[in-house]
Symmetry: C2
Subunit: 343 residues, 2 copies
């Protein structure tokens, strides 16, 4: 079997350079890369990752477990994780649990410490006890409550602040008749942002009764159905906040289908700033969470835990991303003046 | 180290049942599954996938290489592949090449026959010679020209017909001033569908000059920019066909920003039927390609090749999916009558 050294010798470079080419890291000129590729091809060299992983007692991948790859936030996050992993010479193994804890559990058991050196977990409905029993390090991504550390390694985003920023934006525009669509993120993950929003509105002395709030699935269709019901029940609303961009886009569609103009008749705001938020018409106002930064921090923390394994009961480092940022776009505007008044 | 047999004995089931539970395949009652999980947890059993893969000379995953996970078609396809793989007890390792052939090559070399038993390839700009040299079987997914087999195992979709169906729809509605946005799919992958469209329009005796055609990136923004330029240059167009749904959504946004109503002033149609196509307002007319079926056929063909390896020069089985299907929605309608004529 051809070895890495033979490839290096054939290409006239060091084994480290061959390794850099294979792992796509370090500085290698295009010319050198091509020479190495030619040597690899000529000698039929193939690195045996399993053998190395077995010898080192670890796997050559980082696993990312997500609840639903169909939700466009997850591919965006996965892309950022994949880039961060590749920057450090690792592959990303993407595992989709379809919101099923048993599937998540099977992935965790089969991968951790075997195929994967570490596992990044996104909203997979696994209890923390199970995560702590993982043989390989686990980092919880996008923990929503930095003020309540989960006692597990995690990257936290201040989602309460995200809700607050959305509320302050609508209040500043002059909205007083405000509705809320709470995305059902299985496990109550949207509670924090909702509470940040509602507390801010009420603290401003604006009434926000239960009858202005609806639950919906965390999808475009879920937001559509919840908003349609809400708007038919509460026709006086001038603005709706949805706890995520997908249901917020659904709110815009529901308004359109009810012949309400966004933002003239109804302002709409979401949270996250997925790519689609910029690509709707009108473009969706939202509060951006630092997806890229969170992914990089999660990979960095995971790599630290892989290198310096800590006992499960002390591995509880929480890193907090920079703060969410308001992105006002065309879907929010001041409310129409009340009928009977001149402009 | 705990063995599978010890888990089976502890749970009072056969080792095969434990294996089925771990791999999420076969028929296992919920009660049995829970008993096995409890035994696994009590004994601290963890299957060593690397050891097994090494012993068997194969990896326990199927790899899916995509050019851009950021394009929402790929997560939809990945989800379908992942489900098909899981149905057969395999994990899916998702590799994102970011349209870079060197990254694709590095993945192929590092994974094939090592971490992965087989590789599904989607538009990764790898030449067929490289793919044929892969140690593990490779299946090309979504080959666009069933009439021209690539000489590699593949699943083909009749994209020429997809273009034809889009053209027939616009012609039947009465459109004669038709524009075309050709998505730049790197490697000319959209040529086939474009040609199917253009040939059909011209065969109907309708003029479709070069000046009605524009190239754009295969994104919402790419379609937006190409359509904006085209509509400013050719204000008489009553319909635009884009070779993919994302640029078609961009066409709709360009029309909106130019104060053109879709479909009253401009009909728009795409190809693929991604989830977003139903979720735009107006909903996008498109030609649906059988994504789920293609994913299942690709996994099935790959598994056949893994079980019955064939020499690279005879492994060229092509499977063709069922035909694309027109999905007329709200973004297409008859053209406005010419000015000066009564309805």
């Amino acid at each position: 079997m051809t070895t890495l050294s033979e490839v290096a010798s054939h290409a006239g470079v060091t084994p480290a350079t061959v390794s850099n080419v294979l792992r796509n890291r370090g500085r290698v000129s295009q010319e050198t890369r091509e020479r190495v590729m030619a040597a690899i091809s000529a000698l039929g060299y193939r690195p045996n990752l399993n053998a190395r992983a077995l010898a080192e007692g670890r796997g050559p991948t980082l696993a990312l477990m997500v609840s639903s790859i169909a939700n466009p936030f997850y591919p965006e996050f996965a892309l950022a994780v994949e880039q961060a992993a590749r920057d450090h010479g690792s592959f990303m193994l993407l595992c989709n649990t379809n919101d099923d804890p048993a599937t998540a559990y099977a992935y965790l058991n089969q991968l951790s410490g075997s195929l994967s050196e570490g596992v990044l977990v996104m909203n997979c409905n696994l209890d923390f006890g199970t995560l702590r029993q993982s043989r390989a390090p686990v980092v919880l991504c996008m923990w929503e409550k930095p003020e309540e550390p989960p006692g597990l390694p995690c990257v936290a985003v201040n989602f309460r602040l995200a809700g607050q920023l959305a509320a302050e934006h609508l209040l500043r525009l002059g909205h007083r008749q405000i509705g809320v669509i709470i995305g059902n993120g299985k496990g109550g993950v949207h509670t924090t942002r909702m509470q940040g929003f509602i507390d801010t509105v009420r603290a401003a002395g604006v009434d926000l009764p239960e009858s202005h709030c609806r639950n919906g699935l965390d999808t475009v269709q879920g937001g559509y159905e919840a908003a349609r019901a809400l708007l038919l029940d509460q026709p006086g609303l001038s603005a709706i906040f949805a706890t995520n961009d997908l249901p917020a886009i659904g709110v815009m569609h529901a308004a359109t289908d009810l012949k309400l103009s966004v933002p003239d008749d109804l302002s709409v705001i979401g949270i996250t700033d997925i790519q689609m938020a910029q690509e709707t018409r009108p473009a969706l106002s939202t509060v951006a969470v630092p997806t890229q930064e969170a992914a990089e921090m999660a990979v960095d923390l995971l790599r630290k835990l892989i290198k310096q394994p800590a006992p499960a009961d002390v591995a509880d480092e929480m890193r907090v991303t920079s703060e969410p940022v308001l992105k006002p776009r065309a879907s929010t505007a001041p409310p129409r003046p009340p009928k009977g008044y001149a402009d």
